[in-house]
Symmetry: C2
Subunit: 392 residues, 2 copies
């Protein structure tokens, strides 16, 4: 039974797909950069006034200073400041050569002779210096970053209108289980609606993968084997829910073994979500998730997402585990597995454990923010103690 | 100057748009539910075996028990358990009437007479009871929830294939500033590329709003006024970047006043991002954001996002502020504003402050996770102290 951290290390050892494509800036959100974004200009590109005020030399303060003229944003006039002079200047405008300070309009007084006085003892510089944020040629965004809104702004600032990104992995989703029907049907006794397909399709789409849903397969070993084998060449990743455990109707282990797939692991030391299989056959990964919806949800975040990130050569963290503070205690009897407890952040910023019946209790996640984690060996985390939380 | 919490209260007092539409389940991700999702069946819908094992009566243990037959998942046979009998049963299968326990296969022993023995002292029940997670008629997802992957699973489980959601607010984005050029151009001295439009378009799209970019307007009061007025009837929200402060070229305050708009506030007590204006004219909201990219990014999260959530009648939190633990101290001299410092979570789960030059330093957000918040009056948060962090 693998530990989550060993699973992460294993996934990082897999090769990425290596396919890339250019997309327009507006379509690049959520995709993975495949080449560094390099600054094509300094940032700021010139000495820029941070204020409305008067550009001058610090040594000439408090004046009086003769006003040489006015510089608005968007203007550029190759101006040079003379001693004991100043320019009226506005936010965002280029500071004239020789000026090393912009004092604020609020701190100025017009003398009777038309010259300007600085009325305070000291002024901040109030100039954003050329290149203080970034120099031409610096890496602004590293290859491997999953593009978020702030990266759109950075790419725009450096003129990157068609970034190179990783191609979308092709993913197939298969749901196995004789008890499953599709959501549009009403279940008779003994049957349940398939909730995993829609959850997983949306998760995959959010990550910039292309997911095809191939439907439900009853508990039939041959059918399952045929369906997987028939799709090996079409997809980079085939996800099968259900049948991943060790029971008589859990066909995934024997199907993968019969197909000659390399099985990397068949269980994770987590609760819920222990039964999860990962195998590779002809460069295609096959991931067997639990049929229970909370288990498959958690397994998606701990295994499928890091795997997709790896396939896209994405170096952004695929999940965030941070130290939070617990509002109510969490206790348990058996402590051999790493326990994941759904929590909600309160208005005061504490992590509050939610009522949770176990791996099938998907409705417990209606209004939640993540999972608090109890490590193996830990039976209790008390109120207001620090607990690591997987953010979702 | 408004405090962020007063701004939140103000936004909550606005009416929502009230328009709704039905979408398919797969297209509902990221949209806002406009009607409760009600359980149309119990969850689980029947007493379901959580294990492969033997369904029996606890009182008959440890047996020996006569095996009456076998029940696989997906089967339903209206079976009743007799005393001192058991059924071979598999995970997900319906438990026969009269059974109140499923003991695990691993804890069973076949007697010579063909009867089954339970080999342990005590067994867990191992049955997911009908309705233990949710009863028919219960609210499974509240109206106003922004739909996430777990909600897809819940809606599928309850047969909701065409949820009713809030219509997308129509948003226009205008960028003002004579110094601005579009990203595809190379700036000569004094000009900078417009980075706000792409950032804001992507933010809006991620929230399920329809954003149109109306282009750059130079610092010309009449042009700005005309453009806003001409679009009042087409949009629910017009966002203008730049010109929101109090300088000579900050035309937003006077434009809004001349148009007769009701100005709700013209500054927030935050750093960076103080200059931000919100007004309403003929049911359309006009939001003036800073031209500085980090300011507009933060203002989006603190003002635009809660406003859009309100317009969609969304009750999910529009931002999450949680208690985290600081890896390095944060200090400041002036303490009058609420300070937002970009942080990154370390591998150990601490919030680590990033090097940050101020409101124009968008490249500081290349690899960040949120903003640590210092309240007004606070000059310092020390290492390993608790700090509230706005998650992004």
């Amino acid at each position: 039974m693998l530990q989550v951290k060993d699973c992460q290390a294993l996934l990082l050892s897999f090769p990425s797909l290596g396919r890339t494509e250019n997309v327009t800036l507006v379509n690049s959100l959520g995709r993975v950069l495949a080449r560094d974004i390099v600054a094509d200009i300094d940032q700021p590109p010139f000495n820029k006034s941070a204020m409305d005020g008067y550009a001058c030399r610090l040594e000439d303060l408090p004046g009086p200073l003769k006003v040489s003229g006015e510089i608005a944003a968007g203007a550029y006039m190759d101006l040079k400041l003379e001693a004991n002079h100043c320019y009226r200047i506005f936010t965002g405008a280029p500071v004239p050569k020789g000026a090393d300070c912009v004092f604020m309009q609020e701190d100025s007084l017009l003398n009777q002779d038309g010259r300007m006085l600085f009325t305070q003892k000291e002024s901040k510089v109030n100039i954003c210096l050329q290149g203080e944020d970034m120099r031409t040629g610096d890496v602004a965004i590293k290859s491997g970053t999953m593009i978020q809104p702030q990266h759109m702004a950075i790419m725009a600032a450096f003129g990157m209108t068609h970034p190179l990104v990783a191609a979308k992995p092709k993913v197939a989703i298969i749901c196995s289980g004789s008890e499953l029907i599709e959501p549009e049907e009403k279940p008779v006794e003994g049957l349940i609606r398939n909730s995993n397909a829609y959850q997983l399709i949306s998760q995959m789409n959010m990550l910039g993968a292309n997911a095809d849903y191939l439907g439900i397969i009853t508990d039939n070993k041959e059918k399952l084997s045929e369906t997987i084998f028939a799709n090996i060449e079409k997809y980079n990743l085939i996800v099968v829910t259900g049948g991943a455990s060790v029971g008589d109707y859990d066909f995934m282990p024997s199907v993968l073994s019969d197909l000659g797939a390399v099985v990397h692991f068949s269980a994770l030391n987590i609760q819920p979500g222990k039964p999860v299989l990962l195998a590779t056959l002809q460069d295609t990964h096959i991931l067997g998730l639990s049929g229970n919806p909370v288990s498959s949800y958690l397994q998606f975040h701990l295994v499928a997402k890091p795997l997709l990130f790896r396939l896209m050569n994405c170096s952004s963290p695929s999940f965030r585990i941070i130290k939070t503070i617990l509002e109510e205690p969490i206790k348990r009897k058996k402590n051999n597995r790493q326990l994941y407890v759904p929590v909600k952040f309160t208005d005061n910023g504490f992590a509050k454990p939610l009522l949770f019946n176990g791996s099938g209790h998907i409705t417990a996640l209606e209004n939640f923010d993540g999972f608090a984690i109890l490590e193996p060996g830990v039976n209790e985390v008390t109120k207001e103690q620090v607990v690591e939380t997987l953010l979702l």
